[in-house]
Subunit: 340 residues, 6 copies
């Protein structure tokens, strides 16, 4: 039984090394996007994964399909037609200099998808888990409608639905996000968020946190989760990632998983960052993998956090990692000693 | 007294070496566009040049401005505002494999310019030559209107107007091109074209040419020119570039300049191609330079052809060359002996 | 219905550009091998393709599987186990300096495969065409036995069998090649060779050829083909590729296809070489595609030759090309004009 | 009103990444030099900047002019003539391994400038701030004479003069530096130094500092400043940068600004170093920008220190940064969170 | 008088930067191996060094000889013959992600050396120090026999013998290692090890250490050394390196040297790792250099530790460093301040 | 018995690929100079070679020594002292665009050598062939004096002396060259030149040649040689290289060797140029190798021309080639077929 993810994948262009946009004579080119990142992670872990998106019928997108397929993702459901694919430019920060992302995603084929483009029943055939993020419905009203249709149909078919809130202020307002996400989360079983997103979209806050100061308090996460689950009774588990931005080069990283009254907290990793983009997605993938494979909540949160810790040492959006590597870290070997 | 050019400049992304799009893990990034290429060429030759376009207010466009300014182009008139800049992907061909270009230019700031964005009189202040290509009015109705306004005002102010027809079938239909260009060419003093464009846009044909066979006959160019000048009495000089595509790696390259009954033909160069994009633009720049600096027609066509021959050995859209280099080639030293 | 190919795939390491081995501070890394190259070509052309080989269970081989899968090749039948994969080092020649290949392939997992490792019936399930080259049985006695078993079983199941002789003197003697290939070709329907291989392995010669002089006569190919088909009555079609090595930088390239008394000769291409490795394999793939899709012999030889002409302008072993591109060239547009 | 800076700019050649000189098969090439770095910083911040230097009339120097002009620096006053430009080779250190710089700057056009080459009045026309460092007069007696003439004329015209002492022991002795700098600082309004330079050149010392131990005491800076201002009554403000070399990879960085009895101390940044060359120059530029634009002393020292903190995360000599970025850091967001 | 080292050198292939094997489109290529690394270090320090190994007679190995010779190593004794050279693939880790090494070394010319290939007396002619590691006898029985013959002959000739235990579990079992190394160490004067190796091979343990926790206790090293020297009375000095793997990016590094009852402990360095491979070998080289040049034990251990600290900031297996740099660090300047 | 060469070696900096100086963001760095190129060629061919020059005592020059030593050149006689080494910037041309070289060699350690720096007798000890070019005495009067002393002493010791005239107009005038070279050639046994140099320096001309037209007549070379040998009776053999610059990308290349009345002409190669710098030096090396190893004049001129043909397909100044490769080409296989 397969996992289905749905969202936009973009061409990501990044100056080499620590070069700034103003110094870029060339760009490294990878592909990435929340749900695609989750799909690739899960395929790397041995899961059967289908990925739904829209892509243009040109060679830039052919290469994207090639890359996804190479990682073992089933690309058969992707809608191809005339148009463009979204692009994002990414400049890697260091120390006190923040990374910068410039989006050039308007007018993509993915953002133009509507309910008419997808046979919802067919695409959910053979699926046991459906994952989406809050970026997808933010793309356009048509995509939002399609997302809701997929989530609703999945729910009706008994498919587990997970959602990472992932609020993007450049794509929609808080009001619109609140309205659409409130509808979407009704169908969600496993909700993933960070402190900011749950506040921005649903107005639910953790106390005592100070984001720019680089220190996030873990307290109150259980309380927030209970608040979420009260508002959305379908949500069985809520997970939060906790990033402490010490600088662009060094981040603290941990997570909590809440179910009912219980709160399971992972180890905290202090990471020398290679590429933090996709960190949250790799967490989502790790959590889905662990829960789908019968890990306990305590094991699942350690596995998901370890997976996403490693992601942040890997270049590109995708978490290229094996289950064995994740387990070794989750079980406590963060020494980085050479594996011969 | 300055030269003004007006058009769109795009980010050009090209896989390294002979890599195909399907093999691209990185792209070389340069900037280019017909009128920008002309502007840079002329600035390199020591002319005072203003370049008018629209660009977004982000760092990708800041870098573009930096590049133009570096070559000595006056970028003060460029309209900056929120939006995107056009992109084109370019895959370099070799031998029997053709180069491929994928455009992703829809919705750019440049294509959104209208008459309201530009103070036509101010931008033409201090200008003695105005150059534009047929790509510019093809961008949108608003840009077409602005182009016509600039050409008309230039004409009225006694500014020399040159235009390279440059028909792009992906941007507009032949019918529309015919309509707009017929209006535009009314204000043109120096017209530049190749055999295909004058046929596609105005239905005027050179006999005995066979484009895909890699052989273009030079005969009949004078006849075509006279036909053009009959239809557009304001046009004083008409120049044609003649590319013989022997393969993607080797091209024949020559040109003719027609004035009245006279036809001036350049030497023919057989070129090992490094980058042929921008070849026509470098010809236009060479011609403008030569005519503006009092070269005879015979000298001008040799200078312009030599300049554009060298361009095709230079990477990127821009012709990075000195007047001295062009003169040495135009005067007959194509031996490529090392200059120590 | 699928195509199956069987053989070894190696890691190919090549100094950047025209650097010699003595100058190599880094190597470009791709993967290639005769039957894998055929598989990738056919998958790019839209065919369903299975590829059978042996690979070690390490990340160098995981990457290889990722690459094959990315191009759409079904890698499910690949045998993975402890060991190494073959490597070949390739130095690109230029002009009078020949390319050099250093093999480091002994002891690979692929060369260690035996009949016991493969369920012949299962792997041929759903297959309508089986392709192999003479490199495969040369790897080891075990692999030779497996190759023969596959060919024999394919023949019995009515699967079309094609074989490219591809004699490699470093892998086996002429005597051994003669013995094994004589057995193998009994099951072959479509035989591919060049002038040298048919002579080295079967002692059948084309008259009037002078290989090192860079000129190969086309005469007598029909005669050679009839000789081949007399000795191997099962062979219905024989194709020969004709390479004229003018220099390492420029090669003539054409081919003939013989059936019964008829000889179909392709156009001759003079190619500015980017990478000639895999040229023969791309020809084989083009021929299989054309014959499988009902092309006439005359069309098939033009398609196969055009496909392999383009291959030699593409870096790496694989022919990354679309059917549309091949058709455009086969139909006569070798002008290399930019495709916008 | 413009800012003028005067000094030498060199070609900087640096092995890629952490490669040592002994491993260099290629060099990254940028341009840099104290006053050019200041000029580029200020132009990036929107100031009108003229840069005076001498450069050879070859293409290596043409590229340098192109780069400066690209950043918006007015290069019209640069003296071009036959000769060479200085070069410096830079090997990037890491951890306990120090960066190494090899100078090859003798005999440059810049070092050969004399009073006869520059029309002092013309170059100061329209200028309201003149900046120079102690490197410039160290180049040669002729350059020293020219520097003094410029400073003196600037003073007479009421132009603000700033100077960074920047003592380079390879260029001149302490005795000579003392003599020339004593004359130069007479005309200076804003003096910039670090602890070592003020001691080496003027023999004025801060107590309790231990440079190689990686800890610099902040105490006594006010005292040193008052000593400086006593000796040079024209100096109104004195700024000191305080680098704590924890290792080649990690540096502490802060600064103080002294005026009269007041001492304004900036935050201390602990920086993961990308490129520390030009750190002091970016501080100077930040200070000039802030003072010229009416910042208070407290704001100015924070702005200058934040600017130079960011510089050390940017490759090359130049500080490529916007005023907005500097302000964000100066106002306290050093978290390095992604800017989307 | 020369130093002789004997062992295998391999081609090392490493993805660029922090790329994983799955992302490798190219590999940086260097050469390395325990005893070769020692040889190069010592040659860089001005010592006369001979290096004995076996290499194939191809250009990949010619390049290896070129590299060794470039660093001043005498390669005249290297046995060249048909075959392959060992390869190892190295993926650089970061933070919690460990570096990974994949060996492909079976069947190398070096591993096939036997007593018959080397004239032991000739190769020891003019030698005053012989160094080998435990990797060499692990290559094969033939190499083990040759190693013992060299060590025994060296001992008989009064040549100082040093040995780094360097246990590699992929090459031989603990039982076999114990048997062979017990014989080898009989001839050894200076023994080098780390805590793990002495335990794995000889079963001698330091108390209170916890390797994966990233903290190694220094206590008990003297006791272990005395135990070693009791078992092997010929061993006069025993040195231990102490690596604390805080993460793949940051390691603690120190060492102790034991002679009789005395224990000399070096400073501890916390290193931002560029490349830790070859760290132990550079320590061995530093120790040999120091002892051979009459340093006291206290000086020797500081010199060797400083040398190997710097190595870990240098890319590749080899420690490219001067004696002056090592001394500067050993004497306490770890500030990493720029050397101009 | 060894070969000695004497001259300057420079750091050569070249933009990547076909980039122009104006586009250079990085330079490939190799080392080269006439006599060093000859030394490396001969060492690659198995000859014992000593190279005499002057180099600074910095790491840029240490790397140069490392490179030379790597190729097997004896660098023991090189004079090292404080100063700089010469640099030359090289921009690679293509087609009608000529390569450009910018020299920055003034004031080098090599140019500062005098008779006092070299023990002429010691350096000639064990030498049987001494080679120099006309570039060396052009460096300075001191170097000219030293060159003459070496040539004279060599002559007296019965050492064969060869000289390549290599006139460089940027280093000295024709008058000065005539005066010094007339003295030097008195001691020369084997003289190498091209048509231009013998005319520029000695005023001896070949009739019917037209250099810029890309066609050089071979007629009259015998006559020129006889004229040379009449003027310099010590010259036993005179060789001329004949380059036909068809373009920067394609050159004809052949040579003649004259002894007494006999003229031996090589095959003519039409070469797709990778790097033509050092072509003449590789010819000189090939000629020395052939004559020293007893080749007939006819064999020697074919060997030398083949060697230098291959050089022009190799990047950098040095001819990295084996005797076997040269022989294969000299014996007629210029087909460039892959060597497996």
């Amino acid at each position: 039984m397969a996992i289905l993810t749905f969202g936009e994948i973009m061409l990501r262009l990044q100056p080499f090394g620590y070069k700034r946009f103003m110094q870029a004579e060339a760009y490294e080119a990878v592909y990435g996007g929340g749900e695609a990142n989750v799909a690739v992670s899960l395929a790397q872990m041995g899961e059967q994964v289908k990925y739904l998106t829209g892509l243009p019928d040109n060679r830039i997108a052919d290469k994207c399909v090639n890359v996804l397929r190479g990682f073992g993702v089933d690309t058969g459901a992707i809608v191809r037609r005339s148009g463009r694919m979204g692009i994002y430019f990414c400049e890697k920060g260091c120390a006190q200099r923040a990374s910068e992302i410039i989006y050039d995603r308007a007018g993509s084929v993915a953002a133009g998808l509507t309910l008419a483009d997808v046979d919802v029943n067919a695409v959910l055939d053979g699926v046991e888990w459906f994952h989406v993020t809050g970026i997808t419905p933010a793309l356009s009203d048509g995509v939002a409608e399609l997302t809701l249709a997929l989530a609703k149909a999945a729910k009706e078919k008994g498919i587990t639905v997970s959602c990472d809130i992932n609020y993007r202020k450049k794509l929609w307002s808080r009001e619109k996000a609140n309205k659409v996400m409130t509808e979407l989360v009704k169908y969600v079983d496993v909700l993933i968020s960070n402190e900011e997103d749950v506040k921005d979209v649903f107005g639910i806050q953790a106390e005592g946190s100070d984001i720019t100061g680089g220190r996030l308090s873990a307290e109150g996460y259980g309380k927030v989760a209970r608040e979420v689950m009260k508002r959305f009774p379908g949500v069985k588990k809520t997970a939060f990632t906790l990033r402490e931005s010490i600088s662009a080069s060094v981040n603290g990283w941990s997570a909590v998983l809440c179910e009912g009254e219980s709160v399971f907290k992972s180890k905290n990793y202090v990471i020398d960052i290679v590429d933090r983009v996709g960190g949250g997605d790799s967490f989502g993938a790790g959590l889905i993998y662990a829960l789908k494979n019968g890990y306990s909540n305590a094991e699942a949160i350690e596995f998901a956090t370890a997976a996403s810790c490693i992601k942040q040492t890997v270049e590109g959006d995708f978490n290229i990692v094996t289950v064995a590597e994740v387990k070794r870290l989750a079980e406590g070997d963060g020494s980085g000693r050479i594996q011969r």
